[in-house]
Structures are given as structure tokens and as C-alpha cells.
Amino acid sequence: MAGEERKNWRRRLKTPKSAIKGEIITIKTMAEHIMEPGVRRDPETGVIYPKKIIDLVICRFNGKQIYKSHWYSGVSANPFMSFKMKAISSGLLEVEWVDDYGQSSYKKAIIIVYDENGKEVIPMKLDKASSIKELM
């Protein structure tokens, strides 16, 4: 019930493994969380179950934040959320769930993006000559 001490609250993330450049991909996330709103009472004693919800969900791609979501007590328990992303380059996708007690958990996945020729689009191209010019 409320306030359970468990160490294995699960998080799930589903992304397509590969995509074509410019395609819009769907990312599905699900967290196992009780999302206690802080208004329910124990039927026997009348004590309020303390509020414990997931506050913030951040999605980062290659370190850059592309999507953020604030949740309040109105989101249902074991919340499922799915959102979209445009495939620009290959990279690491991370989704982080932050509790209102500050505890955070994350799941990551790698997405490989191909362009029209079938070549993989790598995230960054470091041209040595150009970087030196920028430094100067």
C-alpha cells in the first residue's frame, strides 16, 4: 500500500532501434510508482498517506534536453507517457524520472539513425582544421 519500502521500482523505456534521418519516432515510457496524491486517508485510522509523486520527467538526447514534463498529483499511478522526437543523428537517449523527494532514476537507449544512402549519421564531426581556427 502507501509508503511501501521496496528497492525494485521498475522503469521501462521503449524506443525504435533505428530510424531514418528526419523521421519522427515515438518514445514510450512507463514508470512503476504509486503517485500518492496526499489527500487519501487510511480507512481505519484516518491518517493521510503522505504525498509522493514523480515531479519531473526529462528526456535528453546526446546530453541536450529535448523534452521536459512537470507532473502533479493528477497523473495516474504507474504512469505511462509517450512522446515524439525527430531523428537527426545517432546517439544516446536518456529519460530521467525525478521524485518530489529528489530521488531520481533513469533509463537509457541507443538510437541509430541512417540517412537516405544507408550510411549512419554520427552525432558530431570534429574537423581538426576548423576547430583550431575557432580557437584562434
Binding site: E4, R6, N8, R10, R12, K14, K28, M30, E32, I34, S76, A77, N78, F80
Partner: protein, 267 residues
């Protein structure tokens, strides 16, 4: 005058006892309320959005428990490092179809899947039993049922299980509670009609342990029976009670032939 009164009194008492009731009950004992092609799982009585949640394995919140059950199945614990997977790995001990035959009689006692898992833990693995209706036990039981997903339910009511079947049928037809309701009045006779905006289902348990939205978690059959008793304002029995096991046997037999669809999503 008094002699005739005595005769009438004796005849009246004999016929009021209804001594033919046992024979009538035997002929009708194995009569199913729904023919095999009229059986409908609870999925058909749910709304479209709920059905969509259940169909997709990722979106189904009950799969969280199934995944945890899989981890617990492979977890090696205790001083012997024993785990469920050590025995139930090969074809001989495979658990495929195991969940379709519970509740069954084991050593002269009717047990259901959760109690069997506890027995296995205590006798074969030397580990402490899980508390009934705890998350760990429900995860394991939903994982074992998920292995048999799609296999039609097949509980046996012959032989030793017959007396429990009779007891379960008696409980099903028994009026209980302040509302004086019996299970068959709604689930046999008026399934498909609405009871205050909720469609009454046929009452099959092929989707259990199922994710119930009102409790936002996986629940076992016994907890659902407790809720039904509470709704009729009757005194609920404890989880794991023998009467609930007998009732589960009858309700499972009633739905024999329906494919297992753990974890289902119901209200």
C-alpha cells in the same frame, strides 16, 4: 379425526424435507451456465480504451509485475543458492500449461497457484514463504500464469476435487450479505446488462492475477472475491481461505476453455 391429522402431518413432513433434492442436484451438478461457444472473457465487457491498454504489452501496467516475477524466478537466494529456475528449466519440469490447471488438489488439500508457490519455496527451496497478497508473491504468480498465456483453462473437477467443486457451487449460489445477493443472480442471468454504468461481465477468472484500476496494482482472485463480498455488504473471508479456494475452483471450471490472458486490465 386425529388419526387423519396424524397421517396428513406425517405426509406433509416427508414431502417438505424434499428428499429428492440430492438426485436433482446430481443431474444438474455439472451443468454449465454458458455453452462453450458463448463464453466471453472479461475483455469483451470492457471499454475500448481499456482493451487497448491491455493489448499492448508495453503499455499494460501489469507487465511490470510479470517482469519482476521473471527476475524473482531466476533469483538465487538463501544458503543453498536455490532458485525456481534451477528446477523448472528443462522440458520435463516446464511450467507451460501449469497455471491452467490450478486450483487443484495436492496432498488432500485444495490449493491455488499462490499457495503452491509458497509450498515449493518452503519444501523444495528451504526459503521462507512469501506473505499472501504481497507484491513478490503476486509477481511470481502472474509470471507463472503469463508463461501459459493463450492456453485454455483446464481445471479438473473429477475425483478428489469433486467435494470442493460441490462446495464451491454451493457458495456461488448462496445469497450473502445485507443485499442478499448471490453470484449467479448477476453473473449468470443478466451478464451484459448495465449496473450503474458498469457492464456486468460473465465473471470468469482467466485474466487473473489481473491489474485492477481501482487498486492500481495486480490483485489475486481472493482479493477480488473479498471486494465482491464487501460490495454485497457481507463479511469477507481472509485471503487464502478454503472457501475462497473452493469458489475459485468452481469459477475456473465455469470458464474452462477460455484462454489465459494474464495480466489483464480491468476496472
Amino acid at each position: 379425526m386425529s388419526f387423519y391429522n396424524v397421517i396428513i402431518f406425517i405426509l406433509f413432513s416427508i414431502f417438505s424435507l424434499n428428499v429428492f433434492s440430492d438426485e436433482i442436484l446430481d443431474n444438474k451438478l455439472y451443468e454449465k451456465p454458458y455453452a462453450n461457444n458463448a463464453l466471453k472473457s472479461g475483455k469483451y465487457f470492457a471499454r475500448e480504451e481499456t482493451r487497448n491498454i491491455e493489448l499492448d504489452e508495453f503499455e499494460n501496467p501489469g507487465m511490470i509485475w510479470v517482469e519482476r516475477g521473471k527476475d524473482l524466478f531466476n533469483l538465487q537466494d538463501g544458503e543453498n543458492n536455490s532458485s525456481c529456475a534451477l528446477c523448472h528449466k528443462g522440458d520435463t519440469n516446464s511450467l507451460l500449461g501449469a497455471a491452467a490447471s490450478y486450483p487443484k488438489v495436492y496432498k488432500n488439500q485444495l490449493i491455488n497457484l499462490e499457495q503452491k508457490i509458497n509450498m515449493c519455496r518452503k519444501n523444495n527451496m528451504n526459503l521462507p514463504k512469501y506473505k499472501l497478497e504481497s507484491n513478490n508473491l503476486l509477481s511470481l504468480s502472474s509470471f507463472v500464469s503469463y508463461i501459459s498465456k493463450g492456453i485454455p483453462m483446464n481445471v479438473s473437477v473429477a475425483g478428489k476435487a469433486e467435494k470442493y467443486f460441490k462446495k464451491g457451487k454451493e457458495i456461488f449460489y448462496q445469497r450473502i450479505g445485507q443485499m442478499n445477493l448471490a453470484c449467479n443472480q448477476c453473473h449468470d442471468e443478466i451478464a451484459g446488462s448495465y449496473l450503474r454504468a458498469e457492464k456486468i461481465s460473465q465473471g470468469h477468472i482467466n485474466g487473473f492475477p489481473s491489474y485492477l484500476m481501482r487498486w492500481e496494482g495486480i490483485a489475486s482472485v481472493h482479493r477480488r472475491f473479498q471486494f465482491c463480498n464487501n460490495q454485497a455488504r457481507a463479511q469477507p473471508l481472509e485471503i487464502g481461505h478454503n472457501d475462497y479456494n473452493a469458489l475459485q475452483l468452481y469459477v475456473a471450471w465455469r470458464g474452462n476453455g477460455l484462454p489465459i490472458e494474464t495480466p489483464s486490465v480491468r476496472r
